[in-house]
Symmetry: C2
Subunit: 430 residues, 2 copies
């Protein structure tokens, strides 16, 4: 660390300077938000032509002649299943189309396991303890679901290849209370990590102690590449798991939220026929059918996966400069200082940033005081507890490149300031 080679006087001078820069930023009374993975207005505009495909002067018949405006077709339009299956790299028969958000599907699947069990197993509400493995840092809304149902969450460290599979295999094979693992296998939230082929294969070959163990495979960013010339492709888990003798071990989740309109798009579950029958036993009680007009609108607009990939290329054109800006500012301001490291994602919506231990919460508080909202410290860990208080999630997509540059200049200043405070505190024996 560069501070180690400086005298106390130099350190105090540096501190005073950083504080001044920070105060100057604060005085500007900025209002910037890099807290959530939201598409920008420009990105939303990309999907506006879709709003013209279903006017009053076209028919609303599915390809089988079904009137999508009325009740029915509980599992979704056949052509929508085909589209979603292409994107999710599986077969239409393995797909159920849901309402607006894959988060809601995940909630419902966990809720069903809690109230009614999985394929005939004991409902989790009747068990003394249920555990989930949580690769960290991870997605706060996943952890919120398992916390809501009182499920004990166990942190699993991740590296650039994905979760620590030795640990995953040990827990899954030895502890029948372990019923699931949350995974974002591609362009992971927040690290951007892409699971290696080896890691995916080891997932497919797990030997769970619990018959109702499932992998909750949230492939939210499967087609969300930053460089469409170099998309990352990972092995398809449903097929691999089936070949490994685990046909029912995987729930895959997919969504159009970050393809068209967040919350107003379509989402899907892809899984085995047994699991589909099991999920349907709940879904047929919940609903007479989801929004098929929205399904039809998406299918008529995109037609197939080629249409979706062409559309994602337009998103990439907007997103790439933002991720480039993050990399540029962070490496320029912090690259030589050895006081932080961060991820270099090739897709998805986030950059994961690690401060020195014990700095993250204060960084985020100072950022807030300077008018920049970031994801709450600890949010990327179960129970909001980051054991090192070091992980920060940067969400660069919503604001403009210029605003992002500004937010990051403040951020690197604050990171240096807080690190230096800690260092000075340690020197003074605090």
């Amino acid at each position: 660390m560069v501070y180690e080679n400086m005298t106390l006087e130099e350190l105090e001078k540096e501190h005073a300077q950083l504080l001044q820069v920070y105060e100057d930023f604060k005085a500007r009374d900025l209002r910037l938000d890099i807290s959530r993975g939201k598409p920008s207005v420009e990105q939303l505009d990309l999907s506006m032509p879709m709003m013209d495909v279903l006017s009053s002067d076209v028919d609303y018949l599915s390809e089988s002649g079904f009137d999508t405006r009325n009740y029915g077709m509980l599992t979704g339009l056949t052509e929508c299943k085909r589209l979603m299956a292409e994107i999710m790299e599986t077969y239409p028969d393995n797909v159920i189309i849901f309402c607006d958000s894959s988060l809601n599907i995940m909630f419902d699947v966990v809720a069903k396991a809690y109230t009614h069990g999985v394929m005939g197993s004991t409902p989790w509400c009747k068990l003394p303890e249920v555990k989930f493995l949580c690769p960290v840092p991870g997605y706060d809304r996943h952890f919120a679901i398992t916390e809501y149902f009182g499920i004990k969450m166990i942190n699993i460290p991740m590296d650039d290849n994905g979760p620590d599979m030795d640990l995953v295999e040990k827990y899954v094979s030895e502890d029948p209370a372990v019923k699931g693992i949350w995974c974002v296998p591609k362009y992971s939230n927040p690290t951007g990590c892409v699971y290696s082929d080896e890691v995916v294969k080891r997932f497919a070959n797990l030997e769970p102690a619990a018959e109702d163990f499932r992998i909750y495979w949230d492939n939210a960013y499967n087609v969300h590449h930053l460089d469409m010339n170099h998309p990352r492709i990972i092995p398809e888990l449903l097929e691999l798991a089936a070949r490994a003798g685990n046909p029912d071990m995987v729930y895959k989740f997919g969504s159009f939220s970050k393809i068209t309109f967040p919350g107003s798009s379509i989402a899907a579950l892809a899984t085995s026929k047994n699991n589909i029958a099991d999920v349907m036993s709940q879904m047929k009680i919940q609903t007479i059918g989801h929004n098929k007009i929205n399904q039809l609108k998406h299918v008529r607009y995109f037609k197939n996966t080629h249409g979706v990939m062409a559309h994602m290329a337009k998103h990439a054109v907007i997103l790439k400069p933002k991720f480039d800006m993050v990399e540029k500012i962070l490496s320029k301001d912090l690259g030589s200082m050895d006081i932080a490291h961060w991820s270099h994602p090739e897709g998805g919506y986030f950059v994961s940033f690690d401060t020195m231990p014990g700095c993250a919460a204060r960084v985020i508080r100072l950022m807030k005081e300077a008018g920049v909202t970031m994801t709450e410290a600890g949010a990327t860990y179960p129970y909001h507890r980051d054991p090192d208080d070091s992980n920060i999630r940067i969400a660069p997509t919503y604001i403009s490149v210029q605003e992002l540059r500004e937010a990051l200049k403040i951020f690197t200043t604050v990171v240096r300031l807080v690190t230096l405070e800690r260092y000075l505190g340690e020197m003074n024996g605090n």
Copy 2:
């Protein structure tokens, strides 16, 4: 009963004649469906102009300037709450807008009570027994929810004024295991009954033994009048209950499913602020927000309740002749026979028909064999058990008036035939 005055010979002749008429119908190989409360194609067409209000060349901002295309606004657009509140006869602050179907809201509210309790009470999954009161005949999908969660259902008889309130009061005040009652207070499914002012007042003044007792007030047909010049108006239960000292006792459900497009519209829960906070504790884990583009579309099209009422008048023009046809054929063919009675709804989607005891299942089987699908016998009762085997739900809305006439001619023939069979069987000591 007219058959009582006939000789055996006359009865057997009548039977032979009816059988011949029935066989002639059968030979026509019809395919008619009067099983579900589905709007007709003509009715769906009424809402097609709504599909033009959100094209690519208009803005998607809510009245507060919020971009409805992005994440956020968990409880719904303010203007949509206002619209829904007007229709549901309450205040916008009491309303949460959900996804496509009120059935799903009911499911979620019951599920939450099962897994996490109601406003801090013991989760129902931890209780030895939970009971619901079920006014009968009622809506099969209500009963399916409570059956799914293992809740014991207790039949409550209904008359033209609503449920037997002496019985309701007794159960609710004496048994703390009674946690809810399913109600369709206006144009009830299937009887068409409108709860009297007196009944609604007695509901508001219930004194539940259970603190987590709630009235599940599914006001699905609140604006679905058959004669717009004579709409039935009932007292507003949320307000009445609050005045009676029961501010948190009511969940009200509303939906646009039978105003615009079933499954592709919007739905809402209206309830007290305490209940809203309680429901939100689950909803904020489930979703980042529901389909706001669809909310905006409905609000821009209807503007307010005047727009909705004008729209409902168009539905009434289509629906009234169908209900008139039911009344006409039933009273012409069966009115003088004293072998059946039926309801005379002023709104909603159904006519409830009662045969002599022990006839309904066979009537529906013979109808099916003649190519007319009706709601399964027993469906209007919890556990699909109609103790008298007499109730039949007629859903006249989906097919054309001409087809409906045909279906009803078969129906009255079959009802006479089956009643006569039973009567002859009894005469022969079977």
